[in-house]
């Protein structure tokens, strides 16, 4: 009963942020038509994107201005995102990002269709290599934004497209990528987050030194691998005492609140849970 409740808590937060962003995006379109809903923000999606702050850092430092379409709100959200990541890792990805949520919801359908094969179709080696692709995307986005001073990524960004496909601001390339991401979500859980999201790549780095970490108590672990099976990002939680994988999104699906059948064995914590020395999943694999 408690496990179901824990799952519902995260879903409720995801739905809240999805609905909020969708309403603001619609209100932005309505405002341009002179019919905005009162008391609801009509900010552009760019103004509410923390990644907009990240791509603007160079221009702010070099020229004292934001990249076109980016405002100080993006910077504020960027700082908030970093603060959250420093505490809990990429919790923004697992709890807030509406594109991540949509992929997850479509994934539930994929899970019904494919059963145990869902999210396990790619060869492990290839999958592992592709996980670093998002750092290449991050480098490319930062480079082209610095060179052009324009939000080039907006034309390819499935998140922007998801909330602008009706507005005429969405580019064909963005629509194609969004469709591909949604279709792939039927086979792979959170494909964009895993392989292409530049913001997720950056937040993922915080997993190395975040304050609250996913920790496993080796002395009480029964090695059932339930945590591994539950992880949407395919992280081998059972192989480590502290998860420092750059792909962890702090969804807490692996914890004793949800997948782990033993109480107080996998938890989000500041301190090591029982056992001997602290090992990361990489160290444990050696």
């Amino acid at each position: 009963m408690k496990r179901k409740k824990a799952s519902k808590v995260r879903r409720a937060v995801q739905i809240f942020f999805f609905v909020l962003i969708a309403l603001i995006a619609v209100n932005h379109s309505l405002e341009e038509a002179g019919k905005a809903i009162p008391l609801l923000s009509s900010a552009s999606l760019h103004a509410l994107c923390p990644f907009g702050g990240v791509v603007s850092i160079y221009q702010v430092l070099a020229g004292g201005s934001f990249v076109k379409k980016i405002h100080s709100s993006s910077f504020v959200l960027m700082y908030i995102g970093f603060a959250l990541a420093l505490l809990f890792g990429p919790v923004f990805c697992g709890w807030v990002c509406p594109l991540g949520s949509v992929q997850e919801w479509i994934g539930r359908l994929g899970r019904r269709i494919l059963g145990k094969r869902y999210n396990r179709l790619l060869p492990r080696r290839l999958d592992g290599l592709l996980r670093y692709l998002r750092y290449a995307v991050l480098a490319w986005v930062l480079y082209v934004t610095v060179v052009t001073g324009v939000l080039v990524f907006a034309d390819y960004d499935p998140y922007f497209t998801l909330f602008n496909f009706w507005s005429g601001e969405a580019a064909l390339s963005g629509l194609v990528i969004l469709a591909a991401v949604l279709l792939l979500s039927l086979v792979v859980e959170r494909p964009f987050c895993k392989y292409a999201c530049p913001y997720g790549a950056l937040l993922g780095v915080f997993n190395l030194f975040r304050i609250f970490k996913i920790r496993r108590n080796a002395s009480t672990c029964i090695d059932c691998k339930a945590c591994d099976r539950a992880c949407p990002m395919n992280i081998e939680v059972s192989g480590a005492e502290t998860v420092r994988n750059h792909q962890c999104i702090t969804c807490l699906e692996c914890t004793s609140e949800k997948a782990c059948p033993v109480a107080a064995t996998v938890e989000l914590s500041t301190v090591r849970l029982g056992g001997v020395g602290e090992k990361t999943e990489q160290e444990a694999a050696v």
Partner: protein, 247 residues
């Protein structure tokens, strides 16, 4: 210290909305452009506003405030007809208005280019940028552009007579050199920019006023009142000179 799902469900929204509230309290939460363009860093125009920083969200009033290009001039240059509130018209709306041009685009960069030529500030347009025919006519009348600049503007000239203003109150007009002649009435609200766009030179204005010409965006009445000169004392002379230019 251990954290459960419900802790995160409280802490995450709290940090996000709390952070937004604090930044709003410190006046750091801006979701719209300040409408103050960045200034040029180098060259003889260092410190002046950069036309290249005009954004699609700028209204015509924003451009008048930043670059002293009068709203009336922009309305005529971009064939916007009789809008209900021309000052509130956003530059990005031009792209929609002139969607379907056979060649090139009339949009935000066209306004940047027009503003640049009107004010003499530098801007390099995009390859696809075009100028409506009335805009080129206005620039010609301004009398401050070199032959080379006028030739370059002519190369970008596009006939817009087939398009109508979105508000539908009036058709966008092909404002050639004589279009809108009937509007060339000197009034208190007339700005120095308008006088210049109607063909008067700065020297002629100064000769009639007996004062240095004011900033382009300043109205005659405000400027003269500050200088202690009656508007009625110069109105007729200005009007006669403008009428003479039209003949």
């Amino acid at each position: 210290m251990k954290v459960k799902s419900w802790h995160l469900a409280i802490v995450v929204p709290l940090l996000i909305f709390g952070g937004i509230a604090v930044s709003a309290g410190l006046n750091l939460w801006q979701t719209e452009s300040s409408k103050v363009p960045v200034t040029l860093n180098e060259g003889e125009f260092a410190g002046r506003p950069d036309p290249g920083d005009i954004r699609g969200s700028y209204s015509l009033t924003d451009i008048e405030a930043a670059f002293a290009v009068p709203v009336d001039v922009l309305v005529r240059a971009f064939g916007l007809g009789e809008l209900e509130d021309p000052g509130a018209y956003q530059v990005k709306q031009l792209e929609e208005l002139y969607e379907g041009l056979e060649e090139g685009e009339i949009g935000t960069d066209s306004v940047r280019l027009f503003t640049s030529l009107y004010t003499g500030l530098p801007h390099t347009p995009e390859e696809t940028t075009r100028l409506p025919a009335p805009a080129v006519s206005q620039l010609r009348q301004l009398g401050t552009l070199t032959e080379e600049q006028l030739a370059a503007a002519e190369d970008l000239r596009v006939d817009i007579s087939a398009f109508k203003a979105e508000e539908g109150e009036a058709a966008a007009v092909e404002a050639d050199a004589h279009a809108g002649d009937e509007e060339r009435l000197v009034r208190g609200q007339t700005t120095f920019g308008e006088l210049l766009s109607w063909g008067l030179s700065e020297e002629e204005i100064e000769e009639i006023l007996g004062l240095p010409a004011g900033p382009r965006g300043t109205s005659l009445r405000d400027y003269l009142a500050e200088a202690g000169v009656e508007f009625s004392a110069v109105k007729t002379a200005l009007q006669e000179r403008i009428d003479a230019l039209q003949q």
